[in-house]
C-alpha cells in the first residue's frame, strides 16, 4: 500500500480500515438471508472511497457493520474481522465502541438530513449535545456526563468556526433554529459540520446527496471533498449514482449481491471497467446522446395548450386571514404537441408537480386557460370534467402505491372501466388482458394481491390501470425517481413501447436531467413558478439560453469530463415567490 503525497513522494502506508471475509446475515421469516458474503474492503488514510451498487447490494449493511450499528435483533455477523488500525472492532465491547469509537474516531453523514435531526430540539442544542460527548477536548476514556463551562465555551467556538467553513454564514442564528426551519441544503451542511466537529479519522457518508437537488448536490460534494482532503480524513462514500462517485471518489468498490466485485482507481473505473456487472451499470447510465426517440409524426397541432396559467396558494395568518400569496405557478404558458414527450424539469419547489396537478384539476387554478383536445378544461365543474379525465391521466411517483392492498389486481384494473365506461363485462375483461400483456405481465397476475408481486411489477400494474381507459395524454410525475439505473432503463423502455402502441403523449416531470435528456423530445425548464425556457431537447442541452438553465446543466456530474465540483459556481439568491399583501389592503 502506498500513498502519493503532493510533492510526488511515495509513502508506503497501511490501510486505516481492513475488513476481511465479513459475512453478515439477516433473520427473516424464511430463515437467514446472507447480505454480506465474504467481503474484503480496505481504505487508506485520507482516501475517499466510493462504495457503489444498486439498492439491496449490501453497501449500507457494510457501512453499518463498520459503525457497529446493525439492528441487534435481526443481524448476525457469522464470520470475519473489521480491523481499524489493527483493533478488531467486532471484539470491542459495545460500551467502549459507543464511547470512544463512534462519533469520535469515525463519524457519520446520513442520507436524509431532515429526518436525522431530532425535530424537537434546536440545531444548536443537538450540536452541543454532540460536543458534550465527542468534543476533541474530552478524553476518549472519559465516561462521565460532566460538561465544564470552559469546555462548553471552547466547543461553541469550534461549532461556529466550522459552520463558517461549511458556508453557513449566520452561525449563531442557525443554532437557535429548529431543523424544520432551515433548507435541505443547509441541513446537509450542518450534518457535514457535525461529522467534522469531533475531528475524526474517518467519515462514513451514506448516500449523502441522494435527497438533494442537483445544484445543491454539486456544492455539497465539493464541500465534503475539500474539507476532508484538507484534514486528511478518510471517507467511505456509499452511492447508487455513478456520476456522484465519479465526482468525489479516489477509489471505487462495486458491490453486487453482498460481494465486492471490483476495486479500482476511479479514473480507470470509468474508462476501463473490468467486471461484466460494472460494464452493465455504466451502459445503463442515461448518458451521452440526446433523445433519439421519434418525434410526433406530423405536426398535428397541440393536444394541450396552457395559457397564462397561475396557481397561487393563499398564505393565511393564525386567524385564517389571508396575508399573502405563494405563487407556485405564475403566468405559465406552454404547449404540448400531439405524440411528443415533453419534459418538465426543475428543482424541488419550482412548481413542476403543482403544474401537473393543476392541469389535472387536482388543484383548482387561480387564473388562465387550459385547453385539452380543443376544449377548455380549466374552469369545468368536477362532474363535467369527468368525461375529459378519461383521456387525460396522471401517475404519481410510484403508481404501484395507488393500488388497494386488499383488492386483487384484476379488480383494481377493472375499477376505472366500471366508473367511466358502459362496456360489458366480457369487453372490459378483454381490454384488461390486452393492457396487462402490453405491460409485460402474465394473465395469472389478475388473481394476485399487490403484496404478492414485486415493486417493479406493482409499478407496471399501476401504469396498466391508467391505460385501460385509453388516455391520449399521460402526465408522469417523477416516474423514475428512487429507481436503480438498471430498473430505470427498463421502465423507460416500457414507457416508450407503450407510447408507440397506444399513441400516447407524455408530460414527463422530473428533476433528473440526464433521464430527461435521453427520453424527451422537448424540455421546459421551470424555476420558481415560471417556465424560463422551452426548447428541443438537443438544442436546450447544447445551447441553453436562460442563465438558470445554464447553471442547472453545469451542475450535472459528467462522467469522463471535467469534474463539476471543480467548475460549478452556484447562482445568487432566487427570486421571491411569496408576495405579502399590504396592511389594510384586502385585495
Amino acid at each position: 500500500m502506498y500513498l502519493i503525497l503532493e510533492q510526488g513522494e511515495v509513502l508506503v502506508t497501511d490501510p486505516l480500515l481492513k475488513v476481511r471475509e465479513l459475512e453478515v446475515s439477516f433473520k427473516t421469516d424464511a430463515g437467514l438471508t446472507k447480505v454480506l458474503d465474504k467481503v474484503d474492503f480496505d481504505i487508506l488514510p485520507a482516501e475517499i472511497k466510493g462504495l457503489v451498487g444498486e439498492s439491496g447490494c449490501g453497501k449500507t449493511t457494510l457501512a453499518r457493520s463498520v459503525l457497529g450499528i446493525l439492528p441487534k435483533n435481526s443481524a448476525v455477523i457469522s464470520s470475519g474481522t473489521i480491523l481499524f488500525e489493527d483493533t478488531d472492532l467486532l471484539k470491542v465491547p459495545e460500551k467502549s465502541l459507543a464511547n470512544s469509537f463512534r462519533g469520535r474516531t469515525v463519524t457519520f453523514i446520513p442520507q436524509d438530513p431532515f429526518s436525522s435531526f431530532n425535530p424537537f430540539f434546536t440545531i444548536g442544542s443537538q450540536m452541543m449535545e454532540l460536543m458534550k460527548w465527542k468534543s476533541p477536548e474530552r478524553s476518549a476514556q472519559d465516561t462521565s456526563s460532566r460538561y465544564e463551562a470552559s469546555r462548553k465555551k471552547n466547543d461553541r467556538k469550534r461549532i461556529i468556526e466550522l459552520l463558517k467553513q461549511v458556508q453557513l454564514p449566520d452561525a449563531e442564528g442557525i443554532m437557535k433554529r429548529y431543523p424544520h426551519e432551515v433548507s435541505g441544503g443547509q441541513r446537509q451542511r450542518l450534518m457535514i459540520a457535525m461529522a467534522l466537529l469531533p475531528e475524526p479519522q474517518m467519515i462514513i457518508a451514506d448516500e449523502p446527496t441522494t435527497a438533494l437537488d442537483v445544484t445543491i448536490q454539486a456544492q455539497i460534494l465539493k464541500l465534503i471533498r475539500n474539507l476532508t482532503v484538507e484534514r486528511g480524513v478518510s471517507v467511505i462514500f456509499t452511492t447508487h449514482d455513478l456520476g456522484v462517485a465519479y465526482e468525489i471518489c479516489d477509489q471505487i468498490s462495486v458491490m453486487l449481491d453482498g460481494k465486492i466485485v471490483e476495486n479500482s482507481d476511479s479514473n480507470k473505473f470509468f474508462t476501463n471497467p473490468r467486471h461484466s456487472y460494472t460494464k452493465k451499470l455504466l451502459n445503463s447510465l442515461p448518458m451521452g446522446q440526446a433523445s433519439a426517440l421519434k418525434k410526433s409524426k406530423d405536426d398535428d397541432g397541440p393536444i394541450l395548450q396552457i395559457n397564462n396559467l397561475s396557481k397561487w396558494f393563499s398564505i393565511d395568518n393564525v386567524w385564517n386571514k389571508r396575508i399573502g400569496w405563494l405563487k407556485a405557478i405564475d403566468d405559465v404558458s406552454l404547449e404540448v404537441r400531439k405524440g411528443e414527450i415533453l419534459g418538465i424539469v426543475g428543482e424541488s419547489g419550482c412548481g413542476k408537480s403543482t403544474l401537473g396537478k393543476t392541469v389535472m384539476g387536482i388543484h383548482p387554478l387561480t387564473a388562465g386557460q387550459i385547453t385539452f383536445e380543443g376544449s377548455e378544461i380549466g374552469h369545468l365543474k368536477p362532474s363535467e370534467a369527468r368525461q375529459l379525465r378519461r383521456r387525460l391521466q396522471y401517475t404519481y411517483q410510484d403508481p404501484g402505491s395507488s393500488l388497494d392492498p386488499r383488492w386483487k389486481i384484476g379488480r383494481s384494473l377493472l375499477e376505472p372501466l366500471d366508473i367511466h365506461t358502459e362496456l360489458s363485462l366480457a369487453e372490459k375483461q378483454q381490454r384488461v388482458e390486452e393492457i396487462l400483456a402490453a405491460v409485460n405481465l402474465p394473465k395469472t397476475h389478475l388473481d394476485l394481491y399487490p403484496h404478492e408481486i414485486s415493486g417493479g411489477q406493482q409499478r407496471r400494474v399501476g401504469l396498466a390501470r391508467i391505460l385501460t381507459l385509453h388516455p391520449s395524454l399521460v402526465i408522469l410525475d417523477e416516474p423514475t425517481s428512487g429507481l436503480d439505473v438498471s430498473v430505470q432503463a427498463t421502465i423507460l423502455k416500457l414507457f416508450s413501447d407503450l407510447r408507440e402502441k397506444f399513441d400516447l403523449t407524455y408530460i414527463f416531470i422530473s428533476h433528473d436531467l440526464s433521464v430527461v435528456k435521453m427520453f424527451c423530445n422537448r424540455v421546459a425548464v421551470m424555476y420558481f413558478g415560471k417556465v424560463v425556457e422551452v426548447n428541443e431537447t438537443k438544442k436546450l442541452f447544447e445551447k441553453p439560453q436562460h442563465p438558470y438553465t445554464k447553471n442547472l446543466l453545469s451542475s450535472i456530474p459528467n462522467i469522463g469530463g471535467k469534474r463539476v465540483i471543480e467548475t460549478f459556481t452556484p447562482m445568487g439568491a432566487p427570486p421571491d415567490q411569496v408576495e405579502y399583501l399590504n396592511k389594510g389592503n384586502n385585495a
Binding site: 453499518r64 459503525l67 463512534r102 462519533g103 446520513p110 429526518s115 425535530p119 424537537f120 429548529y178 457535525m194
Partner: protein
C-alpha cells in the same frame, strides 16, 4: 401566538359545549320514568301536597321551559337546590369537589409516574419476558372492573393484611379546611398525624383508580417509543455514539410523550367516570358518591350540577394538554 389563538378558540367553544352537554344530560335524566317529588313527599302525601311540591320546584312546567329556566339560573350562578339535601347544589358540589380532585390527581400522578417509565422500558426490551409480563398486567388492568378490583384490594390489604384503612377519607375530623385537599391542608397545619392518616386512606382508592389509567398510559408510551426508536434520528444518534441512556430518556421520550400527553388528557375523563364507582366502594365523600346518590334519587339539579362541573373540568384539562403539546412540539 399559535398557542394564544388556540386558547381563545377553545374558550369560544367552552360555553356552547357545556350548553350541549346540559341539554343532553337534562333530556336523558328527565326521560327516565321516575318521580322525585313523589319519592321525596313520602308514601302518605296527598295528591294536592305532591302537586304543590311539584309547582314549588317548577316540575309542573313543560320540559323545555324547565330547561330554559335552569340554563338562565346557571348563567346567574344558581345551580338550583337539591330536593334531597335541601341545600344549594353549588354548596354541595364545592364541599365535595376537593375530595374527588385529590383522588383524581393522585391517580393521574401515580399512573403517569409509573406508566411512562414502564412503557419506555417495555419498548426498549420489547418482546422479552419483561415486556410480556407487563402486557399481561396492562391487559388485566384494562379488563378488570374497578369495583371488583376495589373489593379485592379491600379484602387483601385492609382485611387480610390490615395495612390500610378499609374505607373513608380520614379518621376523625381532618385538618382545618383551606384548600380542601387533606394532604395539603395537613401540611399547612403542620399536622403530621392527619397527613399520614389521609395518605393511608388514599392508597387503595388511588391504586384502584390508577390501575387502568396506568395501563393506558403505558401502552401509549410503549407505542410512541417504538415509533421513535425506529426513526432516522435515533439511527444517527447511535451512529454518532451518543450514550444510549441519553438517546432513550432524552430524545426518544420527548417524541413519545406527544401521544402520551394527549392520552393523559383523555385519561382524566376516564378517571372522573371511574370515581363514581371507586368512591361508592370506598365510601369516599367526593363528587362520585354524590352523583350516585343523585341518580338513585332522581335529584335532577344534582345530576346536572355534577355533569356541569365535570364537563368543565374535562374541557379545561384538555385545553392544558393542548398547550403542553404546543410546548413539546415546536413544529406547529
Amino acid at each position: 401566538m399559535r398557542t394564544l389563538v388556540l386558547v381563545i378558540n377553545r374558550l369560544l367553544w367552552f360555553v356552547p359545549t357545556l350548553v350541549g352537554l346540559m341539554i343532553i344530560t337534562f333530556t336523558i335524566s328527565h326521560i327516565i320514568p321516575a318521580d322525585p317529588v313523589a319519592f321525596f313527599a313520602g308514601e302518605n302525601a296527598t295528591n294536592e301536597q305532591i302537586e304543590e311540591l311539584r309547582a314549588r320546584y317548577g316540575f309542573d312546567k313543560p320540559l323545555h321551559i324547565q330547561l330554559i329556566n335552569y340554563l338562565i339560573g346557571v348563567t346567574q350562578g344558581d345551580l338550583g337546590v337539591s330536593i334531597y339535601t335541601q341545600r344549594p347544589i353549588s354548596e354541595d358540589l364545592l364541599s365535595r369537589l376537593p375530595a374527588t380532585m385529590e383522588l383524581t390527581f393522585m391517580a393521574v400522578l401515580l399512573s403517569t409516574v409509573v406508566g411512562i417509565p414502564l412503557g419506555v422500558i417495555a419498548a426498549v426490551y420489547r418482546n422479552t419476558m419483561f415486556d410480556h409480563v407487563l402486557r399481561v398486567i396492562t391487559v388485566s388492568g384494562l379488563a378488570i372492573a374497578s369495583f371488583w378490583l376495589a373489593i379485592l384490594f379491600q379484602l387483601l390489604f385492609a382485611m387480610e393484611l390490615q395495612i390500610t384503612p378499609l374505607q373513608g377519607r380520614i379518621d376523625g375530623w381532618g385538618p382545618e379546611v383551606i384548600t380542601g385537599f387533606f394532604l395539603i391542608d395537613s401540611i399547612i397545619a403542620g399536622d403530621l398525624d392527619s397527613f399520614t392518616n389521609a395518605a393511608a386512606h388514599l392508597v387503595l382508592p388511588t391504586l384502584t383508580l390508577a390501575f387502568p389509567a396506568m395501563a393506558t398510559i403505558m401502552r401509549f408510551t410503549r407505542a410512541g417509543v417504538l415509533d421513535a426508536i425506529n426513526s432516522n434520528y435515533v439511527l444517527y444518534e447511535q451512529a454518532m455514539g451518543f450514550p444510549s441512556r441519553i438517546i432513550i430518556w432524552k430524545y426518544v421520550l420527548r417524541n413519545a410523550l406527544i401521544g402520551t400527553v394527549t392520552q393523559i388528557g383523555l385519561v382524566f375523563g376516564i378517571l372522573i367516570a371511574g370515581t363514581v364507582v371507586v368512591e361508592a366502594v370506598y365510601d369516599w365523600p367526593g363528587l362520585g358518591l354524590y352523583a350516585v346518590e343523585a341518580i338513585l334519587n332522581s335529584d335532577y339539579n344534582a345530576i346536572m350540577g355534577f355533569t356541569l362541573i365535570t364537563g368543565a373540568f374535562f374541557i379545561i384539562i384538555n385545553l392544558i394538554v393542548d398547550i403542553i403539546q404546543g410546548v413539546i412540539d415546536p413544529r406547529n
